[in-house]
Symmetry: D2
Subunit: 134 residues, 4 copies
């Protein structure tokens, strides 16, 4: 429905913080690749990326993927997010791949794998969105 | 082990962003009450508080409670967080009550209830922390 | 809508395995107390109750609570379950308290605390049900 | 460490219910394929496979994979399980693919995809095991 550049143009107008936080690298069918460029403010004590940074990325990657699949149809809202933090992420850019597992009338469910700048898998998440009537 | 004011003094030095985001209202045995003062930047399109704001609060409330129970013993790290978003939160302050369900040698597990400025329950979370050797 | 004895009569007809597995001890507003009488087949190696026994109890307790709130309105189906196993449960009866956190048009969300025969909290769960149109 | 037939021989002695419930189809590095042969008792009202059947499969698939990776080293115990039920499973055999995402000193985390007899993805789960000292 929407390409990466159409999504980013939509977000610049409606949700600038999201598009400034997370860039779309690629969209393929039911998958999306995203990149979060490093910022000092993402660090927590110990010099690793904070948990909230990774949670926000998981949530955002699937939101962008839903825009790609459904178009700018009004507001999808997150109803559930579950995340496993697997390893301490290195300070640096983070990449996520999100995949849609279900796109129903009322609910969409996806999973997300997050890798740090060294390519290590640092988190796995699943996210559920409640969809507006289409 | 640590009182609310001792925790805040520790955080001002080691994790200033956390203590600026979230204030401790009360600590009781295995429970903590926290308050997140409203900021415009927490809003998402539609005028409600963003999911990441609530996820960060759930994670932070239990981190503070672990400091209260264990003292400043080095770094506890989140290994898992699960959150259900129940209702759209009103724009305004948010309050959380965190409760420790297990404090083991290696893992601590807690649950968090989050209410918005109107007193509605807007999210329920569970969080697991991996603890450093004591 | 339905009392404990009405729910059990409904289940004897439509879902006999559920009512044989789990008994309703009490229903209060948005809460339910359930009891699972011990069976040898619930044990796993090490002599503790198996994880699937506790997961089934969490799912069942909230299903019974939805029947109590909504009546026999057709099939609610579980869309999500998250469970933390906190301690090894003793071999013996298990009790659960389920509490409804949200009863929306399409989704119901509840949380469950499970205690073993010694009264120890052994598991905490959250469960989401998708509701049929009412 | 252990092949599929060694695992099944170990389970016949120590956990016969598990090996009777779930068969190993293949083991590859950090992955396992399992099959649950259909039984009438897995059905719930509406003629679909019950949630507890799928939850037990998710838990069991990763337990078998840990045996394959670590050998019969004493008892790994589940500390957390999260499952999304995506579609109503057809009555029939069920297949699961489990993948290890982390194998640490104390914790192992894996994800599981479950397909029904028609090949539809019906559930996605993540499971955490606490490991005995090695």
């Amino acid at each position: 429905m929407m390409s990466a550049s159409e999504i980013e143009a939509f977000l610049v107008e409606h949700f600038p913080a999201a598009v400034s936080f997370c860039k779309i690298s690629a969209i393929r069918d039911d998958e999306i690749d995203c990149l979060v460029p490093f910022r000092e403010e993402f660090l927590r004590p110990g010099g690793t990326l904070s948990g909230p940074t990774l949670m926000t990325l998981a949530d955002t990657a699937l939101y962008f993927l839903l825009l790609a699949k459904l178009g700018p149809v009004g507001l999808a809202v997150t109803t559930h997010l579950d995340i496993n933090f697997l390893r301490k992420p290195a300070a640096g850019d983070v990449r996520a791949t999100g995949r849609l597992l279900k796109l129903g009338k009322q609910l969409a469910v996806g999973e997300v794998h997050i890798k740090d700048a060294e390519g290590k898998l640092v988190a796995q998440a699943s996210v559920t969105y409640s969809l507006p009537p289409r």
